[in-house]
């Protein structure tokens, strides 16, 4: 076990199990609980445990997607919390729920935790919903939608000489092609860069391929420490460092072409202590991968998003947690030894989480 950065030593915690729903444009058949139930069942059954084997539950979701209050309470019906369980929730991507559970395991207050997230992006108008995450006094009343804000970021990146529209198309092409190997992905296609570049702009300089798909989905992870970690995994995947940072909500006060919060989180998580074989980066818009690769200090030798990433499936509230699960699965199967997973939340990469994973 390598010590984490900043002089911190951490209690070894493993990603013992990961499951995700089939990512689809719209699930008209199931409600949130019915969509989540098979994911919870799978994350337990894969390692032969039940809900009685975990002593903490933490979820990530937002009521703004379903348009109803306390949807995270209803979602507990997919777990069955009787007798009463220690349980918590974050109004964030499930990656932040994983962080909360990891902290509890650090404190020794639990030895295993269920983390899950769910969200159906198809029920409302994301352009309107995501605008409400902005500063409510100066920005939200102007009504800038997430695509327009991301286009401003992409334009700034081009103006800074750091990227071109062809780079965005190349990232989208690679992501869709890699997704052919991921049966759970939504956008799976072998399509050439030139074909993608022939698309019309959605908001210049972003074409359709540089935008994430709208996705309904759910995901779950079991964290384990101590005996449970070694008992539940042949080759435990350890979290050697995890950290998250946030930038100001004022977009005008940020340099949108960089991600200092990602760089800070990576440093605190000890990413620089050694090389990584692969990175699962949560970049909902194609150009954001360029910004994040730079912030994480990744060179071109590192495989980025072999799962296809968020351009192939972007279930809101789950896409970050899925990055951690996908990276862990690659290590567990022997496809990598050390990996970095990243999750983002908020407009234009405002909040970022970095998780460093190592095989035993």
């Amino acid at each position: 076990m390598s010590p984490a950065a900043a002089g911190r030593t951490v209690r070894p915690v493993s990603i013992a199990s990961f499951a995700q729903a089939q990512n689809v444009r719209r699930d008209d058949v199931h409600n949130e609980v019915e969509g989540l139930l098979p994911v919870i069942e799978e994350v337990f059954s894969t390692i032969g445990i039940t809900k009685d084997d975990v002593d903490f539950i933490c979820s990530g979701s937002t009521d703004y997607l379903i348009g109803g209050p306390f949807s995270f309470v209803m979602a507990l019906d997919a777990v069955g919390v009787w007798p009463p369980r220690a349980e918590s929730h974050v109004e964030m991507d499930g990656a932040w729920a994983l962080y909360e559970a990891w902290v509890l395991l650090q404190e020794g207050k639990a030895d295993a935790a269920l983390v899950y997230s769910f969200g159906r992006s198809s029920l409302g108008d994301l352009g309107e919903i995501l605008t409400l995450q902005l500063d409510p006094y100066y920005l939200a009343p102007l009504g800038p939608d997430i695509v327009s804000l991301s286009a401003l970021q992409a334009r700034a990146l081009i103006d800074a000489g750091k990227a071109s529209e062809a780079d965005f198309a190349a990232i989208a092409s690679r992501s869709r092609r890699d997704a052919l190997g991921n049966p759970k992905a939504q956008v799976r296609q072998d399509v050439a860069v030139e074909v993608l570049l022939a698309d019309d702009y959605v908001v210049s300089p972003l074409r359709r391929h540089a935008l994430p798909p709208i996705t309904d989905g759910a995901a779950a992870i079991v964290l384990a420490a101590g005996d449970k970690a070694t008992r539940w995994s042949e080759r435990p995947v350890w979290i050697t460092g995890i950290d998250h940072r946030s930038e100001t909500h004022s977009l005008g006060a940020r340099d949108l072409t960089t991600s200092p919060s990602t760089a800070s989180a990576a440093a605190m998580a000890g990413l620089g202590a050694g090389p990584v074989d692969l990175a699962e980066i949560h970049a909902p818009f194609a150009h954001q991968e360029i910004i994040l690769k730079e912030a994480l200090g990744l060179d071109d030798a590192v495989a980025v998003n072999p799962s296809g990433g968020a351009l192939a499936a972007n279930p809101l509230m789950s896409a970050g947690l899925i990055r951690i699960g996908e990276a862990a699965n690659r290590i567990a199967s022997g496809g990598a030894d050390r990996a970095v997973a990243h999750a983002t939340s908020g407009p234009c990469l405002q909040q970022n989480l970095v998780c460093v994973l190592e095989g035993a």
Binding site: D27, D28, V29, H30, N31, E32, V33, E34, L37, I40, K51, Y64, I66, G67, G68, M74, L76, D77, A78, V79, G80, V81, W82, R120, S122, L123, G124, D125, E128, I129, L132, P136, Y137, A140, P141
Partner: protein, 173 residues
């Protein structure tokens, strides 16, 4: 906002002291497999519940899982339209959009065969005669007015049976 001079009115514009930003979001609703079956049951004039395969409790309506055991509820259970008032309140306060006369009774009704009580109106009895343990039956709208909605149930009314023993519903209060 209304008492502030607007641009072009010729009056100087003072500092902004208030900003109204109306928000409206529209969502589609997907009831899911289990609730869709419940709603289709209402359309046929029946209450359709589902049984948990582990604890055998019957939920009406079911959201597709047993909230105690966290397993799928797959066995449909058709319930009689009779039940027991477990608790109730007398509504004396008028509110916007109200469609029935006050006072009226909103009650939790434990349908026979169910393990989850159900909100319904109690009518055809003076408000001061409604009581816990009272036996009731559902009154449905006319067959050609049935829809996949709780509006298909007009209300519950006394069915003439003797009151239920407290022990039969005390777990559902």
């Amino acid at each position: 906002m209304t008492d502030q001079p607007s641009a072009g009115s010729g009056e100087p514009i003072g500092p902004v002291t208030m900003l109204a930003t109306p928000i409206r979001l529209d969502f589609d609703f997907t009831p899911g497999v289990a609730q869709s079956r419940f709603l289709r049951g209402l359309e046929r004039g029946t209450f359709l519940g589902q049984r948990c395969p582990t604890c055998h409790k019957v939920y009406v309506p079911s959201r597709g899982t047993c909230p105690t055991d966290g397993v799928a509820t797959t066995e449909d259970v058709e319930l009689a339209g009779t039940g027991t008032v477990t608790t109730y309140c007398v509504v004396n306060v008028p509110f916007a959009g109200q469609s029935i006369e006050i006072p009226y009774i909103a009650a939790q009704v434990l349908l026979d065969g169910a393990n989850l009580s159900f909100m319904g109106l109690i009518q055809e009895i003076p408000a001061d005669e409604v009581r816990m343990g009272m036996r009731v039956e559902a009154v449905w709208v006319a067959p050609d007015e049935l829809t996949p909605s709780l509006a298909s149930v007009r209300y519950f009314r006394p069915n003439g049976e003797p009151d239920a023993d407290y022990d039969t519903y005390k777990e559902y209060l």
